[in-house]
Symmetry: C2
Subunit: 339 residues, 2 copies
């Protein structure tokens, strides 16, 4: 992260025709993006959004209000332009990739969908490891390769996810990484009632007990034991963005758990993360706190797909436009007052 | 406000390919805009932003960190495209009007600025009424006429303000309307220190004592005694939008005090208001609460000019686009789950 451009950007913010600090978090955003891009003219014209989709073996435990077939159906919906992230990506003129990292069923060829299916969903982590080590590495590479595929044209990267059951997976992973009780991070997901949430807690507690002896073997091992293919792919994407110097806009609960996993695997990579929103899923706040993250928006969203991050993109763009386009006091011949 | 379209929009939100409620406040926004526009296809392509600028007699009491000449200088900056609201309006392809309602000095002709100067700033409300009744009516008409000037092409109206000293004016007005101690609503404005804030409180307490006997004569009288020309113009604009059925996006502290004044003058007109953000100015929260307002953003902005409202416009547009453009479960052939 570039300190020279950070200082330059801070100095410029003090010269723009407004009371110092009066654009609030938009000033911090402009300075951060200028610093990450090592540019005097931060620019987020080119946004790359990728939705990673996969199924989850823990669905055998009855942890979601939706049937598993919805993962595949939503992949078709992403490609057809009918999903929230499709509508938002089009509006943002962002590049939208959809990657099948492991649905339960094989899918027909779908234009616009990359078939990188690793397996028929993960295994049920209440019975054994969710993935083999090789599968986890394979998923991480799917994310890496996606970032690298358009890296010269990417000014901001967003990873979204779709996978019925994946708030259970993310909650298990967060509980293990944060060494907290699942009750602190489990929520309704797509719409569980109180009883459903209690069951989800019990299922995850059971999984953590099962894998207890291996949960100190490091974050990669934890990801293998309790993760999902789409989450591992997001981890790979985040690690690659940090390594390659691409700012990342983090989405909701699952995306942030992937971000936490990446940070644990490669401390410092979170310098490249900007946090778009705090979702309605109660565990999100806990994971954000663990990353010292201050999200921009609190709109009670809880959809995933990268939708919360996409909704925040205009704020980041406005921050850059104000930074680049406003007049300085000198240009406008305005007194800076007695401050 | 149209209940039929509200019900239709609520029903559509339940059919879109997402868990019900998962778009959070974006769903409420889409339903509200559909209802206010009485349309199945809420649309915010055409946004009309007007910045009202004026000077304030209370500046004689030394209540701001900036000199009064900045009001005029900023009017030139708005017109030249160098101010925050100029940059944002251009990005939003919004119509931007700038109206001089009463700077201390007469200004040269400035292309893009309407000269509706009522007087050389308001009078010092620590000495007497800020305006005459006639001046207050004149200012209200400036706002009304501006709304009407482009009403057939306005889908959303934003009033911004500029006026060195106008957080003092707004604080005085809010204290009188809410019958609260100025200490509860006075803040640093453009950048007062602790001592400056204490002085500002004392000045406003003094003004409230001076006018005490007339502060129960209704909100129009209170506006005349303690208001500003730009604030009265905003009140006129808000009242006219509500009467004509145009949704209004409210900006920060001063804008919200004008909204409160309008609501007190014409109860129910707040049905047409959407609250963009909660600013860093501490009194804003108090005034928002008095309007039962839940603002969309909390970005620590405190600039005025309509800038906070402009920053929120993309959120409203995204809410509409999602509402109009997402596929339904039926269209996408997706199971709604067991909910």
């Amino acid at each position: 992260v570039d300190k020279t451009h950070e200082q330059q950007a801070l100095a410029r913010q003090q010269q723009l025709t407004k009371p110092p600090g009066s654009l609030g978090q938009l000033e911090n955003l402009a300075v951060k993006i200028a610093s990450l891009q090592a540019s005097e003219i931060p620019d987020l014209t080119h946004v790359h959004i990728t939705v990673y989709a996969a199924d989850h073996g823990v669905m055998a435990e009855g942890v979601s209000a939706f049937p598993q077939s919805v993962t595949a159906a939503m992949i078709r919906n992403f490609a057809n332009g009918g999903a929230a992230i499709s509508v938002l990506a089009q509006e943002l003129t962002a590049k939208l990739d959809v990657i099948n990292v492991g649905t339960v069923d094989t899918l027909e060829d779908i234009p616009g969908v990359f078939d990188k299916r690793i397996d028929a969903g993960t295994a049920n982590f209440c019975q054994g490891p969710a993935m083999t080590e090789q599968q986890c590495q394979q998923a991480i590479l799917v994310g890496r390769d996606n970032v690298l595929s358009d890296i010269d044209n990417t000014q901001l990267y967003i990873a979204g996810e779709m996978g019925i059951g994946n708030t259970s997976t993310a909650s298990a992973l967060a509980s293990a990484l944060l060494k907290c009780d699942p009750i602190d991070v489990v929520g309704p997901g797509t719409g569980l009632d109180k009883q459903g949430i209690q069951h989800k807690v019990t299922v995850i507690q059971h999984a953590l007990e099962l894998h207890q002896s291996e949960l100190n073997d490091g974050p990669l091992s934890t990801l293998t034991l309790l993760g999902g293919f789409e989450i591992a792919a997001m981890v790979g994407a985040y690690l690659t963005c940090a390594k390659q110097g691409i700012p990342v806009l983090i989405d909701g609960f699952i995306s942030t758990v992937a971000a936490l996993t990446a940070e644990r695997m490669q401390p410092g990579c979170k310098d490249w993360f900007i946090y778009s929103h705090q979702s309605a899923e109660p565990g999100h706040k806990v994971v954000l706190n663990a990353l010292d993250a201050k999200p921009l928006l609190q709109l009670d969203m809880r959809l995933g797909e990268g939708s919360g991050a996409a909704v925040a993109v205009p704020l980041l763009r406005q921050a850059c436009l104000l930074h680049n386009g406003m007049a300085t006091f000198e240009q406008a011949n305005i007194s800076k007052g007695d401050t």
